[in-house]
């Protein structure tokens, strides 16, 4: 069975690109989505091991994604990425497994991801 990917969801292409690149360098399989709708589609298709989810996005926001997943009974670990002050409360609101407060560097990102999803053996 192939490695289950990490899905990165953010409407800011700069962040999306950089986060995806970093995780790939760490050996993770990575999928990306620029909004909530695309994220749901990717979750259905790729069954990711972890979703890095921006909250404020066009089309369908982070709350929308969490609600749709709950409705469909899909259980997937989520890490919230947000620039807002109340990131922690937003994360608990949607039952996420953790949150990353923007701005974050490589170190913060990898630490948060590793806590939920250990790096693939191949990379280590």
């Amino acid at each position: 069975m192939p490695e289950r990917p990490i899905l990165v969801v953010d409407d800011d292409p700069g962040i999306l690109d950089a986060v995806a690149e970093l995780l790939r360098l760490e050996g993770y399989e990575v999928e990306t989505a620029a909004n909530g709708m695309a994220a749901l589609e990717a979750i259905d298709r790729a069954r990711p091991a972890l979703v890095l989810l921006d909250m404020r996005m066009p089309v369908l926001d982070g709350w929308g994604v969490a609600r749709m997943l709950a409705e469909r009974g899909v259980r997937v670990p989520i890490l919230v990425m947000t620039a807002a002050r109340d990131g922690a409360s937003w994360a608990s609101e949607i039952g996420a497994d953790g949150f990353l407060s923007k701005p974050f560097g490589i170190g913060d990102l990898l630490e948060a991801v590793r806590r939920v999803e250990p790096p693939p053996v191949a990379a280590s």
Binding site: V19, L22, A83, I106
Partner: protein, 639 residues
């Protein structure tokens, strides 16, 4: 003792008590009114004494009889004098009364003893007529006053009427001896009732005063309760003045407020103007500095230096009371009565009560204002907090991108120092850095706008050019912007800020419309004003948002935060730029149809401009008129 004797004794006692009271007051106050009142009851007591003397001795000596008749005539005159003290009567009336009384007194002593019964009847009728007149006069005066004074006036009117009636019954007794003893009882009853009424009117018991004062006080208090919440201090003062005048039955009242910082007493005139005096000037100043209530029956005589001022305000009698809270003087309450009220002490105590109440009202007002200041300060702090958290939020996203890309570059360079530079990533870093720069600039601008320090150096700017340039630049970037300018439009502006204003409006218009729809920018001149409009066919602005459009951090309720990045500072900055130039900005919009922003700025007058532009090369004195022609103007404008 018979019932008749008892009645007589009680009546005499009542009159004696009133006499004792008014005599003490007359000695204390010694004004004409008090002396007249004391005289009136003195005469009554003398009449009682003389008739008792006659009854006890069983004889009517000529002197006693003449004195009795003379005193009865005198009594009527004194009563009319008292009326005159309350409200000046016509002088011919006073003269006629005095003359009539004098004739009767002389006749009383000149006529042979025993006096004919018609003369006794005439003397008594004289008193009854004058008593009746006084009764009506007091009753009419009562309608002009209020509260305690009104009740006392009514009592005095009743007393005069009853005593006049008593004397009339006595006359009937003279002509109908058969009924004399029955009539005597009626006379005594009426005299007792009259005496009691006089007692109430002239020696009012404290409990009665309190009871009579209460409704007026209540009326004032019920209104006072809501006063501190009135929108302005001037409105509160006006209401206090109205309430004080109404409660005292005076035609007008005024409140002087002490301005601690400037050490002045300020009175608000009906016209809305403020009348200001030194804190010790005029009667108001006297009351204010002495800190106790004061009454004068004649303001002009009390303060002759300012007689004209009192005349202008129709102020004859003035009752003043200090307004103070916890011993801290706040101002003064002055009530202008139409006439000299003899019962000034009652009005004085009422005015002091009203002044105390006014102090409570004014203090409450101060507290409310202080609370509002604190609230405004808290609001400002909250706004600052909002500003900081909005700023932090907006800086975070570009900072994240910048940080991640920079770290990636660093990592790649470490792993493979020889690899070519990733230009995409560098471009991304530079782009985010620019975005951060813009954000920081707009925060600084907003902070400058807050302090009214947006503008730098001003110079003569051609607005038409600026508008056309902006639109051309945007159109060059593939966006649909069209300008319609009828120039030149010259004004003294900060060119950078004006460019920023037009840029902001055009960028906004483009941001909220579809890519293919056109943004139309127009600029024209209308006498002394320059106009710019920026119209789009975009998403429009909900009517509810329009009033707050230019507020700091305001973002349209139909603006999707995620699609349209922004701080809600752009239009706030635009308004500051327009206003600091002495202009204004407004917006019209229809949801789904588009919006039009309209900026109006002062422009330089065309003629003045032509000269100003031409000045370096033109000597106006020496040059022929033709030199300031169209060519000169055209070149000066530099279109």
């Amino acid at each position: 003792m018979s019932a008749d004797d008892f009645l007589s004794l009680v009546t005499q006692a009542v009159f004696l008590i009133v006499f004792a009271d008014v005599a003490v007051k007359a000695i204390g106050g010694r004004d004409r009114a008090r002396l007249d009142i004391a005289l009136f009851f003195g005469v009554i007591v003398a009449i009682i004494g003389l008739s008792d003397f006659g009854r006890l001795t069983g004889t009517q000596t000529p002197v006693v009889e003449s004195s009795l008749l003379g005193l009865v005539s005198l009594l009527g005159y004194v009563l009319v004098r008292i009326v005159d003290d309350f409200a000046p009567q016509r002088s011919w009336l006073m003269g006629a009364t005095a003359a009539g009384t004098l004739v009767l007194i002389v006749a009383a002593f000149a006529l042979p003893h025993p006096a004919p019964s018609w003369f006794a009847a005439l003397s008594v009728a004289w008193f009854a007529a004058l008593g009746g007149y006084a009764s009506i006069a007091f009753a009419r005066l009562a309608t002009r006053t209020r509260g305690v004074t009104q009740r006392r006036m009514q009592a005095v009117a009743a007393g005069s009427g009853l005593v006049a009636l008593a004397f009339m019954l006595a006359i009937v007794g003279v002509f109908a001896p058969a009924y004399a003893s029955d009539l005597m009882i009626g006379t005594r009853l009426l005299a007792l009732a009259g005496g009691t009424a006089y007692f109430i009117g002239f020696s009012t018991p404290v409990a009665l005063r309190r009871a009579w004062q209460e409704p007026e006080l209540r009326r004032f208090l019920s209104r006072a309760a809501s006063l501190p919440r009135l929108p302005s201090s001037a409105a509160i003062v006006a209401e206090l003045e109205r309430g004080a005048a109404e409660s005292t039955g005076a035609p007008s009242a005024t409140v002087g407020l002490f301005d601690r910082h400037r050490n002045k007493l300020q009175y608000h005139e009906r016209s809305g103007a403020t009348f200001e005096t030194e804190p010790d000037a005029l009667i108001g100043g006297k009351v204010f500095t002495e800190g106790r209530p004061f009454f004068t029956a004649d303001a002009r005589r009390t303060d002759p230096a300012n007689a004209q001022l009192y005349d202008q305000r129709n102020a004859t009698a003035v009752i003043g009371a200090p307004i103070a809270s916890d011993g801290r003087p706040l101002g003064v309450l002055l009530v202008y009565a139409r006439r000299a009220p003899i019962f000034a002490e009652d009005d004085l105590s009422l005015v002091q009560l009203l002044a105390d109440q006014a102090a409570v009202v004014l203090e409450s007002r101060t507290l409310i204002e202080e609370a509002a200041t604190v609230q405004a300060r808290e609001e400002a702090t909250r706004l600052k907090d909002d500003f900081l958290s909005a700023a932090a939020h907006d800086l975070r996203t570009p900072l994240t991108t910048l940080l991640l890309h920079a770290e990636l570059l660093q990592r790649h360079a470490r792993q493979d120092p020889g690899a070519p530079l990733e230009l995409d990533r560098v471009a991304s870093i530079v782009g985010e850095a620019h975005r951060l720069q813009e954000l920081v600039t707009s925060f600084l601008d907003a902070s400058r706008a807050e302090r009214g320090q947006m503008l730098g150096r001003r110079e003569t700017v051609n607005l038409a050019e600026l508008v056309a340039e902006t639109c051309a630049r945007v159109a060059g970037n593939g966006r649909n912007c069209r300008s319609e300018v009828s120039g030149p439009i010259l004004g003294s502006y900060d060119p950078d800020r004006l460019r920023q204003l037009i840029d902001n409006l055009v960028e906004n218009a483009l941001k909220y419309s579809s890519a293919e729809s056109e943004v139309l920018v127009r600029a024209w001149r209308d006498s002394e004003l320059a106009h710019i409009t920026v119209a789009d066919r975009g998403i429009g602005i909900p009517a509810a948002d329009l009033p707050h459009l230019f507020d700091r951090f305001h973002r349209g309720s139909n603006v999707d935060d995620r699609r349209f990045q922004g701080l809600g500072l752009g239009l706030y900055i635009c308004r500051a730029i327009a206003q600091e130039h002495g202009g204004e900005i407004s917006a019209e919009s229809e949801l789904g149809q588009g919006s039009t922003f309209h900026v109006v700025l002062p422009a330089l007058p065309v003629a003045a401009l032509d000269l100003e532009e031409a000045r370096p090369t033109l000597d106006i004195e020496a040059a022929p008129i033709e030199a300031i022609g169209p060519e000169a103007a055209g070149s000066g404008v530099g279109a």
